[in-house]
Amino acid sequence: MLVEESIRSAISSIKTNGVRSFLTALAIIIGTAAVISVIGIGSSAEKALEASIDDLGPRTLSIFPSQRKRGGIASGFNPLVIKDAEALAKNNEHNWLIAPAMSGNRQIKYKNSNMNGEINGYLPVNFEVRGFDIGSGRLFTEKENLGRKRVIILGSKVPGELKTSAREILNKDILIAGTSYTVIGVLKEEGSTGWQNPDDDLYVPLLTAAQRIFGTDRLGWINVGISNDTNVDYVMMTIEQILRQKHDIGPGGENDFRINDWSQFSDLRRQATGIFTALIAGIAGISLIVGGIGVMNIMLVSVTERTREIGLRKALGATQKSIMMQFIIEAVLLCILGGLLGIFIGVSLLYLFTSLNDWIFYMPLSAVFGSITFCALVGLFFGIWPAKRAAKLDPAVSLRYE
């Protein structure tokens, strides 16, 4: 019953001095809000990153064209071409999926609507490598690719851009630079990967794109889908071998392409986000400690103000321990309430941030419980001294206190 009465006394004391309690807890509130939103943003970023890695299929390497240097001097640019991709695809040493692609922006017209969209030349296998699923209609076939057919698949947001719906535009024609293409499918919503938004793009067969739209066999990149248990170094070596041979690069010559391992890249990015999150959270944590000093200060004031009450409680039989408990509970409660308010604000900020940026909202519960526990510990630590002072008050003197 004593604990219950201590909690009730603490609540009523915090309520009675509402404004003062709020101002005291302000640093705690701000600190917790900062910790929570920063950790939340960091975690959401990581989630987005994970999602984008998942988007790339099990594991993807990307080959990009790059400048070839001879004797340290940049000497032109040897493009990646469709034949390179075919050479890679012919190799059956590895169980890999070769997904060459080219892309460019074109004006697109449907009825009276216009839009500028990124058109990608894909093979059917590209969709598998990127993990894209068809929402309505169908994917194009290898036969349509070889026949340079004028068929097109839309990202999920494209019908909206063209002021129509997926259902309505399916099997209709749209115009790309005056030539008509039949919409055979619309993708499911894939979500932004952070640096690309597949929902806004359009997809035609690679050979159609090469011949009819871009008029070139130069590729933007080649994605290589590999399973997770593949030896990446060995795969990279094979790619190098094949492409160097194709590009006539002799021994000692530098590559005119580069190979990105996305998972490596995202590991780095994840590490960087992690360090950044820890840094900001640490700074915010310091503000919690500063908040704790404020709480200690106000608790000392509270002890002085309530000297007579403490004297009375002692006269009625309160031991030092029970007086200490009362004031520690008050300090801890003040910090916990501040923490709860801070969490509420932090989560709201995170929600705002993620919805504005089209991110997944993700708040690790461990961070919520962790920061509440930390607030309670701050209250406990900084409440001890004032509480001790209250407990040590001489009852005879306290009762005389005016």
Binding site: M1, L2, E4, E5, S12, S13, T16, R308, E309, L312, R313, K314, A315, L316, G317, A318, T319, Q320, K321, S322, D394, P395, A396, L399, R400
Partner: protein
């Protein structure tokens, strides 16, 4: 004998000056007595009450409460004795403003570790004894001065103390309500409650059964009815 003191002294150091608030108090109290400790302001009455009420310890001298020596007990042991054996009534009531009358009366039982159900029953009984059972949910600010003092008396009685101390209990009351409170004390004493009343007013002191007068920290007279 409930109380037996021998040559109690209490000295305070105020700056460089030594104040001798009590200079050697020897007296004893039997169960069921109704005593007034009377004297002018500053004579040492409150200091004496604090010591025999176990709120303070003497500088010198010995003090037996219920035949147990008290002078050498620790803070927490004194707290338990105050909770168990002693009830206090103060001039300025000392009620917790944010709590109801009932909660104020329950406070000593909380420190005694009584369970809530029993505490409520016993507190209501105590409020009934002082005639305030219908005011149990009122907060102090909703009660008159006389009612507040009676809540404080109920709180002092709720643990069935061996001694009830009252330091100028009518000092903040008008003469009519002061009279009511005095009548309540008499009634309690008639039912066997030992009471030590502290006052500087002769008219109040005259209503008790024994008057101890102190002056400058010494007993000047000790007169039984």
């Amino acid at each position: 004998m409930i109380i037996k003191t021998e040559a109690l002294t209490k000295h305070y150091q105020v700056g460089s000056e030594k104040v001798e608030a009590l200079k050697g108090i020897t007296f004893s109290v039997e169960r069921g007595e109704f005593i007034s400790i009377m004297g002018p302001s500053g004579s040492g009455k409150t200091t004496l009450m604090n010591i025999i009420g176990c709120l303070d310890t003497p500088t010198n001298g010995t003090y037996f409460l219920n035949n147990k020596p008290v002078s050498e007990l620790t803070d927490d042991e004194l707290a338990h004795i105050r909770n168990d054996e002693i009830g206090f009534v103060f001039q300025s009531f000392h009620l917790l403003a944010r709590n109801s009358a009932l909660e104020n009366v329950m406070l000593p039982l909380k420190y005694a570790g009584e369970n809530k159900k029993n505490a409520i029953i016993r507190s209501n009984e105590a409020l009934d004894k002082v005639g305030l059972s219908d005011r149990s949910s009122h907060s102090p600010s909703e009660l008159s001065g006389g009612q507040q003092q009676r809540v404080a008396i109920a709180r002092a009685l709720v643990n069935k103390p061996s001694i009830l101390f009252a330091d100028e209990p009518t000092g903040n009351l008008d003469s009519k309500t002061g009279e009511d409170v005095m009548n309540l004390f008499k009634e309690l004493n008639d039912n066997g409650q030992t009471i030590i009343l502290i006052t500087h007013e002769d008219s109040i002191a005259q209503q008790s059964k024994r008057i101890i007068t102190i002056m400058d920290g010494l007993i000047k007279s000790d007169i039984k009815e």
